[in-house]
Symmetry: C2
DNA sequence: ACTCTGACTGTACTACGAGTCCAGTTGACT
DNA sequence: AGTCAACTGGACTCGTAGTACAGTCAGAGT
């Protein structure tokens, strides 16, 4: 009975790595089953079709990302109670985490699916959308907490500022992939951190 | 003899629209030839394979993007000779341009191919890389001009700041695609503009 | 008028991956 | 001993990439 969970997540592991490496369409079920050491029939036992695989991958990825953010910013808050400074610590931790991944960050499944979304059904696209809206809400809330203590030096749209966290990470990962460098995403986050320092500077 | 140019760019037009809509692999040669009203043989006469099509698409896209940046920032420079203010004007023009596209910006071929790059040969990937390095150089130069007049209020890596223009645009387009909204990219550019105002503020 | 060439059309072929169907196997639990 | 979830394995259909090649056709050069 543990086999079930085991095989399913093994499929997801292999599929995720392959999809991040070369895209969804370019990843064949053949190679997934070869990697997971199961038969084609076994694959379709777990997933109705490739679309179901995409949905499961996205769900898992989004959950992991959310858990990571929860953990990271909770730790940052423990280190400093001030909303601005805990945000700055959290971003630093995030940047360090991205940098420490030896092979570079696997890249974001969100962007990967966003650019191939006509392959997927409405459910997958909606999942993608809700994830980004969730991050917008999360970061907007944190920025509003900061703004209550530190008056922004320039007027900013808080929704857009919340989106900017996702945007900077996604954009940084795109650069990283295209340039074949390995610290662009973390550098972009550090630049965004400087932005926040300037925007909410108390001087 | 004009037929040659005509058919080739007609194929590229149709292919680009289809690829931006649903990704490269999901776009079949069948549908391209149907859209361009030619035969399959005709397609392979112009392009050896899908990889050659990808390369031609990228080349054309990068040239267009570079021409657009040349034009935009040249106009901005005409309107204000100060490097900071012409940069701010140029970004505003870019944001407005993105917003005015009625159906939303087609999306960036760079990001689209970056996430499917194992489909392509080294030439395509190198093209992608060089384009982003070119933008890095372009914007870093502009930021250095600004920094000579306005001392940055916080130390920043100029390469990374140059990359941030591309990153913010790419990231904004990813958000826009995933959220199905239509002004995220322009909002992100405006936020980046505010960043520059704060970073190079003379006060 | 004649030929040559570039830009195709049309057809037939191979190879491969997605997805379907299904009959049979295996090991754990009851 | 029987049941069920979790598979295996094979045969099939269908759509797409890519190859090959023979033929068409308009226009430029001679």
């Amino acid at each position: 009975m543990e086999q079930k969970v085991d095989t399913r997540s093994r499929i997801l592991d292999i599929a995720e790595a392959a999809v991040l490496e070369k895209g969804f369409e370019a990843t064949s079920i053949e190679e997934i089953v070869a990697g997971a050491d199961i038969s084609r029939g076994g694959f379709f036992y777990h997933f109705k079709d490739k679309n179901a695989l995409a949905r499961a991958m996205l769900e898992r990825y989004i959950d992991a990302e959310n858990a990571l953010y929860d953990d990271l910013f909770a730790r940052a808050r423990e280190l400093n109670d001030d909303p601005l400074h805990s945000m700055l610590i959290g971003l630093k931790l995030l940047a360090e985490m991205l940098e420490e991944m030896p092979t570079g960050h696997p890249g974001c499944v969100i962007a990967s699916t966003a650019y191939q979304d006509r392959l997927f059904d409405e459910g997958v696209r909606e999942l993608n959308r809700q994830a980004i809206l969730g991050w917008r809400k999360r970061f907007r809330g944190m920025f509003e907490d900061i703004a209550r203590v530190y008056e922004p030096r320039e007027p900013v749209n808080m929704d857009a500022l919340g989106d900017m966290v996702s945007g900077v990470v996604e954009g940084g990962l795109v650069l990283q992939r295209a340039l074949r460098e390995h610290n662009n995403a973390s550098e972009q986050i550090m630049l965004f951190r400087t932005y926040l320092k300037l925007l909410f500077a108390s001087t």
